[in-house]
Symmetry: C2
Amino acid sequence: MKKPLSSNMEDYLEAISLASDKDGLARVTDVRDLLGVKTPSVTGALRVLADGGYLTHEPYRWVILTAKGRRAAEDVRRRHGILSNFLCEVLGVSPKTANIDACKMEHTVSRETLEKLHDFLHKYTGRPRHYTPDKKGK
Amino acid sequence: MKKPLSSNMEDYLEAISLASDKDGLARVTDVRDLLGVKTPSVTGALRVLADGGYLTHEPYRWVILTAKGRRAAEDVRRRHGILSNFLCEVLGVSPKTANIDACKMEHTVSRETLEKLHDFLHKYTGRPRHYTPDKKGK
DNA sequence: CGTTAAAATTAAGTAAAACTAACTTTTTAT
DNA sequence: ATAAAAAGTTAGTTTTACTTAATTTTAACG
């Protein structure tokens, strides 16, 4: 009966993961800037994610993803990467728009569609994909 | 400064349009069943859409889309159709999943991506598309 | 050290969308 | 014709996510 993360919480997780890429640590301000929200929103999201065991966060300190949090974030970023690459490389959507659209679609696309997308991308470009996706998302 | 419809209101509009296909009229229960919500949720949505000039609705009577409402609904259904067809015909996603995914993506995909999708579909299948999309959605 | 600026927090409030419960209106079937 | 069933409404609550305003903590520098 463990409930899945909401789209919103996935976004926070993704942003935290992205912010952690440089130095392994994320600050509330990094997340705020990546998502374009205000700091109290971040604080609120952190409480939810900490409750769910996705991260640890002592007040006024760094945000650190747990193993569970890292796994979940990687999964979101994999989805993002597949979508964004597909939109760019197959459809010829501009990188900027592709990124914006991938950011929204990553939360709604089914596993089935995602894997088909992945397969098509592979066949279409010839190039196999690793995912873990590319680093600069969002 | 007219605000765009929320995803939710678009869903209601789409459902009303679908329900109207048979006889031009939609009942609250049709919408409720199509969307899987309770009747008070429908009533609430109708108030919002009526306020926005998308439909008229006298209490305990039929729901009727205005010209504006019909236009907006057609637009949603066009997006739905393109997405659903793309997923099925190009990617080989099962019709059921394609429909579910299209229902969610139709609210988030940019115009740019949508048109690229449309172009690709056309080239890929050879068959040109009309949109107005196919009637049985959702 | 002590003050200040930046970062983060809590508190309180708004808004959308859903729900339940209780009620009213309309339709249907005897 | 009327009573039961179906359809619809209103009112009030809940959840999620955001906001602004006021406060606290940390860090940085003279």
